[in-house]
Assembly symmetry: C3
Amino acid sequence: MSENKKTTIVLFSGDYDKAMAAYIIANGAAAYDHEVTIFHTFWGLNALRKDEHLSVNKGLLEKIFGKMMPRGVDKMGLSKMNYLGMGKKMIKNVMKKHNATSLPDLVDMAQEQDVKLIACTMTMDLLGLKKEELLDHIEYAGVAAYIGDSEDGNITLFI
Amino acid sequence: MSENKKTTIVLFSGDYDKAMAAYIIANGAAAYDHEVTIFHTFWGLNALRKDEHLSVNKGLLEKIFGKMMPRGVDKMGLSKMNYLGMGKKMIKNVMKKHNATSLPDLVDMAQEQDVKLIACTMTMDLLGLKKEELLDHIEYAGVAAYIGDSEDGNITLFI
Amino acid sequence: MSENKKTTIVLFSGDYDKAMAAYIIANGAAAYDHEVTIFHTFWGLNALRKDEHLSVNKGLLEKIFGKMMPRGVDKMGLSKMNYLGMGKKMIKNVMKKHNATSLPDLVDMAQEQDVKLIACTMTMDLLGLKKEELLDHIEYAGVAAYIGDSEDGNITLFI
């Protein structure tokens, strides 16, 4: 077991508010010297997508998933009261008003604080996401790496 | 690290059934002498709202959120099969039939068992919730307090 | 505390994709010699339902719940982009294409690896589910057993 405390988060959800909660906890734990890992799986992978459209070689099903899923955190919707994006717009407005850090900035901050961002390779395959569509400086791993990281952890969450 | 075992729950969800699960686990752990904390953030804050309407001074966006969000656990809907409240009514009926403890009673019981109920101050700001709208005898804190509470914990959950 | 590491998962959700994540993590942890428990509560109980229709003696409300809830993992829908089952069909197609293990097979594999599958008796009562409707070789317990299992655990998740 390492000297540092450890926080390991599985980010399964593709909701804006849940991704925000995950990244706030991750940044908080990193500020308290935890080794922090966010393991992005299923819809949570969308948090790692680049903003722009990239033409990559895909099968039809993968193309459809790629079209329908949001490109990056800023495009995600709320888990509750999204109302076709109006609820999220309201949240973003009050966040600006209260000088709260936006979700894309929380992701940047996590990378600066050396939070380990992992993309689950098995679900990348399922959803047809390619490495070139995802943020730079992230890692790629499967469930075995997740178990290894979290079994000595202090805080283990599934979001 | 304290002598007692510790259970720390982040209650993010504003769903009736998920709040019920959180409070059942919290009361169970407290009965087994765990130090238990429920950290209410985002929609989970609604579990701590008082039943009555209170006129507090708010901006427009905060007023809209205040109107749209449920006042207290009894007003929440189910995460599945809510059907405009019918599913919840069914659940409440079968709970009464089986003499299961209702959600407002589970919250009371948690307070009697000294479960620490914390409202996340950052999301209170975002959703425009004021202290006078929330239950008495709760605590107010941010993510740092959550990390401190849960890093020595035995059971850490995000609900 | 036992010699083995422990992973304890509360499966609350009745979504196909979330149940898949739960069983993938459970099987992964079991492969690394963890003692693994999945505690099925609320909608997560549907993962343990047998495929066939069984006539058991129930009250009206319980009959309605029984009709409306999916019979076993293969009947569940996605948490996102389900589109009346089309999204799930797509996921199942790409899973087949990538030779990914299907959810019913993941449940079988968990049983072969001695993952302890527990049905929460309190919510079985609430939803009107009877033992004869659930898979064989599972255990029945309440929140006290869950606390006992997870308080010495390494990985504790709520899914």
